[in-house]
């Protein structure tokens, strides 16, 4: 049996970097998709045959998936607290309006507001984190593979592009702002 009240549990969850199973699945799924996109690019444009380069593709996609999902989690954590502050007023107004006619204790009302704030901030932070990190990842992939690493062999180009894109995205996400 948990020692904490519901309110305390929500606060603990709020300040924890751990994500729920659903968010985790969403992050890993999106990270896998975005990490697999450059395979198509290198296959069709840089003429890297998928059969002969299969091991390289799988290995780099796995590494990139891990790093990008790490970036998603970090970005979400930073953004969530800021979003909670921004959305607090709107969520409070909505809950008060929704339960205007119902009799409720102050504690119950505050608990509902907290739950709703957490839910809204969680969703918005998750989706924005995915969007933001994907944008940076794809920018680095396009810039690196077509401009900076253009003269390299396709295999080396692929390794360095994916390493740079996923590495930099993970690095930028560790910032506190």
């Amino acid at each position: 049996m948990s020692q904490f009240t519901k309110e305390e549990e929500i606060l603990l969850q709020d300040y924890s970097r751990n994500v729920s199973t659903k968010s985790g699945a969403l992050f890993y799924g999106n990270a896998l998709i975005i990490s697999a996109i450059p395979i198509w690019l290198f296959w069709r444009v840089h003429q890297m045959d998928p059969i002969s380069s299969a091991i390289l593709y799988v290995a780099m996609t796995a590494i990139s998936t891990f790093l990008v999902s790490f970036a998603y989690k970090n970005s979400k954590f930073v953004l969530k607290h800021k979003i909670v502050q921004k959305r607090e007023e709107a969520v409070t107004r909505e809950i008060l309006r929704k339960f205007e006619d119902k009799r409720m204790t102050k504690q119950e009302r505050e608990e509902r507001i907290l739950l709703k704030k957490n839910e809204v901030a969680d969703y918005e932070a998750t989706t924005f984190s995915i969007f933001y990190n994907n944008a940076i990842y794809l920018l680095i992939v396009v810039a690196a593979s077509f401009f900076f690493l253009r003269s390299f062999t396709p295999a080396l180009n692929y390794i360095l592009t994916i390493a740079a894109a996923s590495g930099l995205v993970a690095l930028f996400s560790t910032g506190t702002k």
């Binding site: 969007f131 944008a135 920018l139 077509f146």
Partner: protein, 170 residues
């Protein structure tokens, strides 16, 4: 006595040979290839390939093709029977628009060459058939490379994402 007979045989042979090189009531099925991309070559190439059906099932009729004053003899594939002619012309002088490939048999070719030597109007020489093809000209390629467009698009999206994040974080 022998000489007139020999002369007659010779005349008959000459007429027979001449008529073998003439195609009457020609029917042409053709395909034309022209250079599509200027960046991959230094000259514009025109290739015309056609099947020629003449009355009486005549085959191996020598055919000459003229394109804007440049006349060449066609090559013929012994297996398929198709005729083919090709030109490569510098891009600055390459004809565009409505191309007319004029086909001539031996007689027509002789008349055409005579008109060309005498600086006469060659359009008055009757051709065997004409193959027409519309050609806009070889492409110089796109104005912007696709990777540049992709990079610019991702930069714009990143800018929008960063602006939105700055608003949230501020």
């Amino acid at each position: 006595m022998e000489t007139p007979r020999l002369f007659m045989v010779f005349c008959l042979l000459a007429i027979g040979t001449a008529s073998a090189n003439v195609c009457s009531n020609p029917k042409v099925k053709h395909s034309v290839y022209t250079t599509k991309d200027k960046r991959l070559s230094t000259e514009n190439v025109y290739v015309v390939e056609f099947d020629l059906a003449c009355d009486g099932g005549k085959k191996d009729v020598p055919i000459y093709v003229d394109l804007n004053g440049k006349t060449i003899q066609t090559a013929r594939d012994a297996k398929t029977g198709k005729y083919q002619a090709s030109w490569s012309i510098d891009y600055a002088k390459a004809p565009t628009g409505q191309l007319a490939f004029r086909l001539f048999d031996e007689d027509g070719y002789v008349a055409l060459r005579k008109a060309q030597r005498n600086n006469e109007d060659t359009s008055t020489v009757k051709e065997l058939a004409t193959i027409t093809e519309k050609f806009k000209g070889a492409s110089d390629g796109p104005w912007f490379q696709s990777e540049t467009v992709a990079l610019l698009a991702t930069i714009v999206i990143c800018y929008v994402a960063h602006s939105a994040r700055s608003k949230i974080v501020s």
